[in-house]
Symmetry: C2
Subunit: 334 residues, 2 copies
């Protein structure tokens, strides 16, 4: 790698590509399960159901307060395993790198990705890199695919939701969406808001210990309102949310008011929405609030025997329908 | 989906995205293991080692004689499992779609991807879509991650290679590289050459039935010469190839001569290079030649107790070193 920038030769299968993989990817991601010379690697798996998920990452800018695309690529996929009730074990990583990208910047992102994976105990064991011609790709796109194990007998899903169930959220919504927006600096706004990008595993583990847990989802693209839409549509039940109970930071609220966004549709990257039987709802709230990730958790709504719509009871006591998102509020936040 | 083209709203998590996933992806890819509403899905796995691999796809043009990026995204990943001695079972799919892409074109590619997966008996059970702003992405990038099962006791790998082993290739090399190059029509050349993109499973299954099989790899980016470099470097042995034995189509040879490419470095997408003990080499050749995929298979070289280099014995009896690829011969063929 004589050059400090990515060239098309870094994608051709030859020496430059081998060196890029060895010096940037394999060096940071080194672990006993990773063999960059193998076409496929064996996975050592424990007892239980093998769970599988994938996610793509195109956030702009690539680095933002509270994280970067590398951290996001780990958290996004392991959180999907976590809310499905699984313990994440392995990741694969695809990198689509734009010609001209600074290798130092790429390395910073890969290093964060590796640290994030280590911190949550998952191993990146398979990978692939492709180089895109200059002008395509805005620097870097990533995709990660995750494998985890769900304990036998765990039963969670949209079809487990019942009328009377309560809805909880583990913390303030919209932080990620607004943090990324501010990082673009295109609105002349600044703030010290950080993305909530993080692992939800402590939250999902605590929830799985409780009977009465019916469903979990992390509200990413489309935000809390979209998860509630999915819950309502799939269960055929009405969702009633109490606006006064939904945690939203003042800084998120005020940016939303200035720019005309609804925080309920903004992405989070480290929150969980849980649907739990009424009898266990307070227990889950107590458990979550004991965790640093769940200090601001709240009971925000319930499932009702009526037409499948999402109704927000406003702080003034009025009612507002939360419709399915149509327009694009904030592209490329994940 | 009122519009016939992809918009940024198709990536926002709301109604447009849901409809795109339902009408284009889920409709074609429907199978009992796919649940587009789930964060992660369980995999039913048979006995043996669980094998894992991933690959990204950025070929230009997206459609070419003999295939398209959808077929490639299935074959590329299942072939990596196949040469590792596994039977592929499941795929995840990431699509990075450029704003403005014709939905009809996207659907054609997804339909081919689904047909290809069905034909080889693998199920696409997890997926994600992201939309890239117009001007980025040249239409479509894909990534697939595969899970397969390798029978207990199968032992293959670069570290199994021994001096005296023979090297076989399952068919003509360079077809894919030249077919994609001609499809770009930028050189004023035309031809009826088709990509060799296809499943190598019949070839790897036949090879796994033989004792003495030490290693298999599909020569994609970097071609046959790059696989031989990897074999030589990893084993610490010399590779001697006989040029006269290496199958190359006349049409590939003549385009290479006109444009100054070396066919030994061009990508294949449906070939296997196998390293086998000398005593079983003729057996493997016989088995492969009985298959339609292996009709032109050939014994092309051997491993020798000398410095780790790749030596090509030319048809005139001279010797030429095949070095590791440095420059970019033909970008974005996969």
């Amino acid at each position: 790698m004589q050059d400090k920038h990515i060239s098309l030769a870094h994608g051709n299968g030859g020496r430059y590509m081998r060196e890029l993989i060895e010096r940037v990817f394999a060096r940071h991601l080194a672990n006993p399960g990773l063999d960059t010379r193998a076409d496929a690697v064996p996975l050592a798996l424990t007892e239980g159901d093998v769970m599988f998920t994938t996610d793509g990452f195109t956030v702009q800018p690539l680095e933002f307060p509270g994280g970067n695309i590398g951290a996001l690529a780990v958290h996004g996929t392991i959180n999907d395993l976590a809310v499905a009730g699984a313990e994440p074990l392995y990741l694969s990583l695809n990198a689509f790198i734009e010609e001209g990208m600074q290798i130092a910047r790429l390395e910073r992102i890969v290093a964060t990705l590796a640290e994030t994976a280590n911190a949550v105990g998952v191993r990146v064991v398979a990978g692939d890199t492709k180089v895109l011609p200059r002008g395509e790709g805005s620097g870097l796109y990533l995709a990660t695919t995750g494998v985890g194990i769900r304990a036998a007998g765990v039963r969670l899903g949209l079809d487990c939701i019942r009328a009377g169930d309560r809805i909880l959220v583990s913390g303030p919504v919209g932080d990620h969406g607004i943090a990324v927006l501010l990082a673009r600096e295109q609105f002349g706004l600044r703030g010290d808001l950080k993305s909530d990008a993080g692992s939800v595993l402590p939250l999902t583990r605590a929830a799985l210990n409780l009977e009465g847990l019916h469903f979990m989802r992390d509200p990413t693209r489309g935000g809390l309102a979209t998860v509630c839409q999915e819950i309502s549509q799939a269960s055929g039940l009405g969702v009633r949310l109490q606006q006064a109970q939904i945690p939203i930071r003042d800084s998120v609220q005020s940016v939303c008011e200035m720019l005309g966004y609804d925080p309920l549709y903004l992405a989070c990257e480290g929150r969980v929405v849980a649907v739990v039987a009424e009898a266990q709802a307070e227990d889950l709230l107590t458990h979550w609030r004991r965790l640093p990730e769940g200090a601001d958790a709240a009971l925000i709504g319930r499932l009702e025997e009526r037409s499948p719509q999402v109704l927000l009871v406003t702080e003034l006591g009025g009612e507002r329908m939360l419709d399915e998102l149509e327009d694009d509020p904030l592209p490329r936040i994940c």
